[in-house]
Symmetry: C2
Subunit: 254 residues, 2 copies
Amino acid sequence: MTQLHLQALPDFPLVSPGDDIAALIVASLSAAEARLEPGDVLVVAQKIISKAENRYAYLNEVEPSEEAKALAAKCDKDPRQMEWVLRESREVLRQVPGVVIVEHRLGYVHANAGIDRSNILSDEDNPRLLLLPEDPDDSARRLRADLQALTSVAPYIIINDSAGRAWRNGTMGFALGTAGFAPVENRIGQTDLYGRPLEVTEVAVADELAAAASFLMGQADEAAPVVLLRGAKLSEADCGSQSLIRDRQRDLFR
Amino acid sequence: MTQLHLQALPDFPLVSPGDDIAALIVASLSAAEARLEPGDVLVVAQKIISKAENRYAYLNEVEPSEEAKALAAKCDKDPRQMEWVLRESREVLRQVPGVVIVEHRLGYVHANAGIDRSNILSDEDNPRLLLLPEDPDDSARRLRADLQALTSVAPYIIINDSAGRAWRNGTMGFALGTAGFAPVENRIGQTDLYGRPLEVTEVAVADELAAAASFLMGQADEAAPVVLLRGAKLSEADCGSQSLIRDRQRDLFR
């Protein structure tokens, strides 16, 4: 029977810089009387990876550039926050009051370069932001290796985040970083029920699973930053998430 | 424990015009020794809804307009297919060789207006296409009512389809029509772990669940056009999917 099961790991602790996420996951699995099985996927919220990697950025520690000041005025944002947004970005794509959408230095199109102020304990005298991980694919790869060392099973990893989209309302989970599997499945060569070649051949499986886990994370009454996903038959591959990002020359909506 | 379970209904038959999808679902559930429970979500592939509603469009039964001919030449498509695309659309947004992206008459931004040639048995002398349902929200509402009449349980319904996206590679499932619940969840007024108001407040839960089910449909070895999804705590609401569609005046990426 074709099925998929998702479970938010219970009682996951708040994460601080330097914490060992793999060890926290193993402890949480153990508390839930669960263990990793081959083929399992772990979806991990970007936020706890960023916290463990100490990706905090302090507003009082930057001097906004002229560009940041001008953009902040247009978008009605704090110029110091905008300075951090620009430092994390390659290009500003859209700017209207309340919204700045950029191409992040790693290629994601993301409001505020994915920089977040929610769920961050901040000192009011020195408020801080949380940046995306330095290299989410590398974070995912290391987490996979750490978990394999602890449990002998190397799960597929997705680091997920949520973002707005063109054309449609509401945010949706997507895969910020991956490890161990092909994030875009190529179905070229497969045929439909009647033997015709499939017209659409590339499926963003990592984003579909990130969205599923993101839904579940949002449903939990308490913080649920890790979801165990069982039943997905993914194609093992030694690659990260770069194939999910459309080449800007081939993007019709910039 | 916060969890979500998805199961593709087994042995689902091929669907023909006039078929009663609700009755087919009840039969398939029964064969799987499953039954609907309050709170269940059924995700149903657009393709079988369109087939049951006889939304076939025949290439030989249209005379392409001059606009269709010109667009077909630019996009390297069949002018008769392009005629159907235009009849189903409000506006052509992008046109390059091999690709035409339109705003469908119901507001979706969709390549080829969602018109498909895969999984359709076609007579080579009179090839045919399959259009989207006339009104997917209405289809979803009727399916929900039919299932309630047959089982006494009114499941939440998502009719899903797959589409490409701006910025990212690969297609992804999304909610084409919904019934029974709020497809965009508004978390305004909720606070984060530290009591700060959430910055991002609208989540496209219907699209997240559609993506999850779409992943599972794509994994099945045989046709699996219906997925039973259990564990989602959705907000019951007497509305369809229109709130998922961004108003064109507020869309920065057109």
